[in-house]
Amino acid sequence: MNAQAPYGNTDNSRVAKTVLAVFAAALLITGALWIRQSRAGDETAQSNDVRNPDSDESQTKKPVALVCSTETALACQKIQDNPKIKDLGVTISVENPGDTAQQFIESENIQPTLWLTAQPWAAITLSERQRLGKPQRISTQGEPVATSQFVLAIWEERAAALEKTCTPITWRCLGDTAGKNWTTLEGQATWGALKPGHPPADTSTAGLYSTIALTNAYFADQTYAANDFKERQFRSWFSNFAASVPSFTPLAGTPLDQMLLTGPASYDYAATTTAQAADQIAASRQRDKIKIVETDLVITLQLVSLANADRSEVESLVAEALQETGWDEPRGVEDSTLPSAGVMQALLTLWQQTS
């Protein structure tokens, strides 16, 4: 059977057509790739499928900014003092993570940034951007860079009194006793009311973790959902705790800073991390009067990449500085004690409503 070529029958023309076809195909493929890549940053993207910038070397950009959450301030000072970071041209700033999260949630044009922060903040930011229909531009992928035990720093004398009511001291008991007069808790009249040192949950990591810990304690596990927060008894219990957190002058930074500066007059205990508290307490005039009570939560830090910022050159410097400032090596497992991002956001909203 002789087949007739549809467009001619010479060898030359066949070759020419083949070349043209291959070229056209290549053009189409290139175009498709270009379109696909462009869509990765498309403002209309709704997907929760976050790209990992580390897997797309051609699209990574040099980080221009490293934003550190306040709990990592010491480490970031060390990073800043490292000559290598100057060579990389990275600018460093320290902010309350809740404030950073809010900026990233609202931003329409996130610049390449690395964000050193505790796990929940990036998750909340992602979740909120998704809810608002904004492109993600945020990668939470990659290994955690450090961890630290979430602890309570409490005055020895007051812990001894509280342990008569709270045996042992649990978050549930702290919630039950917040704001009560110490005379009803076998403490002294001069201690006034029991004053939790709980930083604002909507801006600080310790505050957010305290809120999570309290809620975990109230519901006895992590299976609760945002609609459980409408339960009247829980709201009353939670509101009482939030209202019991006083706000003092002088402003000395964290509740722990305040305790070390003004003594037991301010807070009865402060929520903090081993990384932040251990050396600070050991060096202070209050060192013999404060006791550390461990909680079952561990704070895990991440180096989050925004707008494809390249973390590869900074990551090791960050990890090194964190370890030098008391943070532990990452444990390599996801923290299962944290609720979902949506639930955490609902908790923050509840905090705002009740504090």
Binding site: G98, A101, Q102, I105, N181, Q188, A189, T190, W191, G192, A193, K195, P200, D202, T203, A243, S244, V245, P246, S247, F248, T249, P250, L251, A252, D257, L260, L261, T262, G263, P264, A265, S266, A283, S284, R285, Q286, L348, Q352, Q353, S355
Partner: protein, 614 residues
């Protein structure tokens, strides 16, 4: 995720902005009794800064000596920014005054260089400045300020009195003060009838941070709370009764705690420390200074610190108290460049070193560096307790603070005051381009009437002589009566005053004082405000000393002792011809304070300070 938990600072900021006068005069050594109003504030002489980066600093007066010493030491070191040396240069400015200048414009020709660092007495001032700037559409210039040194508000009490009510074994608070105040037996309740009734020294919360803190503390005490004070709390009958009870024990108010401390010390030197006041709300540092024999914290050249016969002890109210924290603000202002900020940070780090924080401690403050232990002089042996306070109070919402002050205006102790004005011929001398001294004094008198509450009894009298100088003309123009009904009458009468002839200062003071004693009301603060611009001149100079001695004897006899009718004479030395030395003696004799208004243009401010005693 907007922050809804209002901070202490923002509350007080708004509160202070809402108030006309509150928080504008700190408890610093800026009182007009001891310094001339309008005189330039001092810049420490630290030598030639050469080509160094200069860190000009505006610091509240109570720490100028300490910071000058630290600056001197710092300047001798090798601190540098990019190889350029750094030179720290503190300048004394009262916190409120500096805040006003920074908010309204700092004139370097009259006020000295604009500061790179501002260190007011308390961190409450920073946000107030920011708020004022924002209100003008200007950028904020104050960020976080690191506390440099701290001191808590305490109730200072002579040791024997404190021991009588259980110190140091018992915790004592405002409720105990109230109980003692309400007890007709007074100190007899504790076996000391010779001490008479309980008397409290407490400053005016519209003028003094200590006064505001004390008011807050007593109100919290009435509610059994240490945070979350509400308007509903203030409206409760038992809270009102508590406040009224405490206020009834007040001897007089005033713009600064130094008035009480100076008078207490002078009384102590006369062996009468227990008869002036029983307690006063002051800062812990003041107790240290007092016990060191330096009640105002400043030793003048040649002056020697002599410990009092009876020391004071600090009672940390069991219901809670507040701190003054002396923050170090590196200003983010357009006149501060990056090198200056870096240089300022070096000085800030320098003052926080352990070695320098030991100096803070020696100065009577608690170190702002939490790594430095609290030790001498903050010791139990010195009447203090480094382990106190045990409870810190939260500042409530701004609207609550405003309501608190409004209620204080109703609850405070009433006044029975006669304003005695010198209308001698010299009051007709020009004070500025268009006004005589008397013109300015009349304006100040009229303005001051609005500071009284309606049921305060206020009267007006004048003194001069006839044209021959042969007859004293001491005239009661308006008898003391509720000022709410009398205000217009007093104002019209004041407007009609005119300068006449001589100055029978002693006779006029004596007669007006005697009238006040006759109409003495134990439920009120009884006082005479004496404004004079000259020396005693009644036509006969030969008996002046005799007259003065008799006057002082009368005044002293009426002021001390268990059963007295204390009428306090608050003299204002007006103009450069006023007899300040004599007026000081008159004030001392009635355990009050003399106010110096040598610059006649300061009279309105000074008059307001005088009226703050009521």
């Amino acid at each position: 995720m907007k922050k809804t938990k209002r901070s202490f600072i923002s509350s007080l900021t708004v509160t202070c902005l809402l108030l006309v006068t509150a928080c504008t005069t700190p408890d610093e050594q800026s009182q007009s009794q001891t310094t001339t109003v309008g005189s330039p504030d001092s810049i420490a002489d630290l030598g030639d800064p050469k080509d160094c980066i200069i860190v000009d600093m505006s610091v509240s007066s109570e720490k100028i000596e300490l910071l000058t010493e630290l600056a001197r030491s710092f300047n001798e070191g090798d601190a540098a920014v990019d190889d350029k040396c750094v030179f720290a240069r503190p300048q004394k400015k009262a916190s409120g005054g500096a805040m006003k200048l920074l908010a309204e414009g700092w004139d370097e020709t009259t006020e000295g260089p604009k500061p790179v660092v501002w260190s007011p007495a308390a961190s409450t001032w920073g946000p107030i400045l920011n708020a004022r700037l924002s209100a003008q559409g200007k950028p904020e210039i104050v960020g976080d300020g690191k506390p440099f040194m701290l001191t808590p508000l305490v109730i200072a009490m002579p040791e024997p009195m404190a021991k009588a009510i259980g110190w140091p074994n018992e915790s004592i608070g405002w409720a105990d003060i109230l109980e003692l105040t309400n007890d007709d037996q007074g100190w007899a309740r504790y076996g000391h009838p010779e001490w008479g009734e309980f008397k409290l020294g407490k400053t005016n919360p519209n003028f003094s941070t200590s006064g505001l803190s004390a008011l807050l503390a007593q109100t919290y005490a009435a509610t059994n709370k240490s945070s979350g004070l509400t308007k509903e709390d203030l409206a409760k009958e038992d809270v009102k009764a508590f406040g009224e009870g405490i206020e009834q024990s007040v001897v007089h108010y005033g713009d600064t705690t130094l008035t009480f401390l100076n008078n207490w010390y002078k009384a102590d030197q006369r062996g009468a420390a227990l008869s002036y006041v029983s307690a006063a709300a002051v800062e812990e540092k003041s107790v240290i200074d007092y016990n060191a024999g330096n009640p105002d914290g400043v030793l003048d050249p040649g002056e020697e610190a002599r410990p009092p016969r009876i020391p004071l002890v600090a009672i940390y109210p069991e219901e809670g108290t507040v701190f003054s924290d002396n923050p170090f603000y590196i200003l983010d202002a357009e006149w501060v460049d990056e090198d200056e900020k870096k240089a300022a940070q070096l000085f800030s780090d320098f003052v926080q070193t352990a070695e320098n924080q030991e100096k803070v401690l020696a100065f009577g403050f608690r170190p702002g560096n939490p790594n430095v232990a609290i030790s001498e002089p903050i010791t139990k042996a010195n009447g203090l307790d480094p382990d106190q306070p045990q409870t810190l109070l939260e500042i409530p919402d701004p609207s609550v603070m405003v309501s608190l002050l409004e209620r204080w205006a109703e609850q405070r102790k009433g006044a029975n005051v006669t304003i005695l004005v010198d209308v001698s011929g010299s009051m007709g001398e020009p004070a500025d381009g268009s006004n005589t001294r008397l013109d300015l004094a009349k304006q100040a008198t009229i303005s001051s009437l609005d500071q009284f509450k309606d049921d305060d009894l206020v009267g007006l009298a004048t003194f001069t002589t006839n044209s021959q100088g042969t007859e004293d003309l001491i005239t009661t123009l308006v008898e003391p009566a509720p000022v709410g009904q009398n205000k217009e009458r007093i104002k019209n009468t004041v407007r009609g005053l005119f300068p006449q002839d001589g100055t029978p200062l002693y006779t006029a003071t004596s007669q007006t004082y005697s009238s006040a004693v006759e109409s003495y009301d134990p439920t009120r603060i009884n006082a005479v405000v004496l404004l004079s611009d000259g020396v005693n001149d009644d036509g006969v100079s030969s008996d002046d000393q005799q007259q003065l001695d008799a006057l002082l004897a009368t005044l002293s006899a009426g002021s001390e002792g268990k059963i007295t009718k204390p009428v306090r004479v608050f003299p204002i030395a007006y103009g450069d011809g006023a007899d300040l030395a004599v007026l000081e003696q008159i004030a001392d004799a009635t355990t009050s304070a003399v106010y110096n208004s040598q610059d006649p243009q300061s009279i309105e401010k000074v008059f307001a300070e005088v009226i703050s005693n009521f």
